[in-house]
Symmetry: C2
Subunit: 280 residues, 2 copies
Amino acid sequence: MFNQSLDKLIQRKNSLVCVGLDSDIHKIPKSLLSEMDPLYTFNKAIIEATSDFAVAYKLNIAFYESLGIAGWELLERTLAIMPRGVLLIADAKRADIENTARKYAETFFTTYAFDAMTIIPYMGMDSVTPFLEYEDKGVFLVTLSSNAGSTDFQFLKSDGIPLYQSVAQKAVEWNFLYGNCGLVVGGTHTTEIREIRDTAPDLPFLIPGIGAQGGNLEKVIEYATDPQGRAALINSSRTVIYASPERDFAEAAHSRAKQLRDQINVLITVHKNPGLLGQN
Amino acid sequence: MFNQSLDKLIQRKNSLVCVGLDSDIHKIPKSLLSEMDPLYTFNKAIIEATSDFAVAYKLNIAFYESLGIAGWELLERTLAIMPRGVLLIADAKRADIENTARKYAETFFTTYAFDAMTIIPYMGMDSVTPFLEYEDKGVFLVTLSSNAGSTDFQFLKSDGIPLYQSVAQKAVEWNFLYGNCGLVVGGTHTTEIREIRDTAPDLPFLIPGIGAQGGNLEKVIEYATDPQGRAALINSSRTVIYASPERDFAEAAHSRAKQLRDQINVLITVHKNPGLLGQN
């Protein structure tokens, strides 16, 4: 039951922060470029600087596989230095028919021991179950993406129900199998996040789009978390990891991650514990 | 203009056959397991045995990346022995927001020099354009998949139009940009293939689902090819590459690929050149 384990982890760490390691040689501080292995040095420094505040790290697989074999080696070495007690998410957005989906699941859950991964659900249930069958692993279905193109198909209504809601409804059904299904919901769509939370009250949400993409953190916390202020991972990639282009990048990432965790926790207190607020 | 180049290649090779290299250590002939590098030996033998009849090879990326770095090495070595004059398709089904999509495009079009790749269009136009911008590369959008789960979302109707048709309509628009957009349409859905061909008369179709998945080859040729009997790639993976589990696997693959090419060409003559048929 991945979703239960995630909930315990969130409580223990008292954080909803997910740090996205979209590590890019063109964006890391110039001062690192003289290092033997600049991206590894960068990842290591960012992880050490943020692990007190992050409940999860999301590795954007595109940034690694685009480097070829060196990228997969970087991925392996990065996973090897992750501290215990954080969730490791492969943001891989894979999808295919069953026999192929099994291979993708094997890649991220066995070959690389990620705890969770992202999936595109366009191809339906039999393309998703090979991932769900790893019962202790989390499967986040891209339901409503954070980008402008999300309006092309995801908002198409069938019998009055937008596609993203049909995906959320199916995810609720599929979650009954093993209790390990979650949703990716873009933080740029605050109205829709509220609707999706109504449809899927218990599923964990992985929420990109805060920060560089402009999502409203307060609305996201109010609408996306469950009544206890949990069941959500708020991802920040560029805003945290590239908080400073200078030699102080790790300190800057530390401060930004701490600030984000604290902001979120204050917002949870404000929106989810009105009793507490009333005492002030 | 990828689509024009593809058309010329199809004419030159007089074949619509795409061989899918879903190479799996558990399925290749047992006799190869004593080789130093069984999967490479298998791929090499299959390519040599089928390249007279295949206009394209489709590498199912899941089968390679699930092996970790050894799999990417296998992929590289397999690409290195491909003959000239065949199209190399990365069946990767990637998708993400723009800055990430750029990295995936870089992976398959630059790091590995594939000629075309498959994409899941769920996230809309800005997730697809980074691929399309490689003007001489082909981008096949998964429109209607061959599996049972295709009914979960792809058949949902909005204003009477099923989602797969909305994708096809958008693909026609997006193809105006660079002339390099194609569609993946499962060969198991013959009625719908006809509708999609009406919507997208000029786009090339990549058609899985013939063979192991049970698609009807005659209907597919009749409905999916253009009036000249072109603009389609008929993929066969398991049926060709695992045509025999014995030492004669390469000869068996040779025969099966030749048979498939010839069957297709006869069906094209029957369905697309009624004048010729009338002379018999």
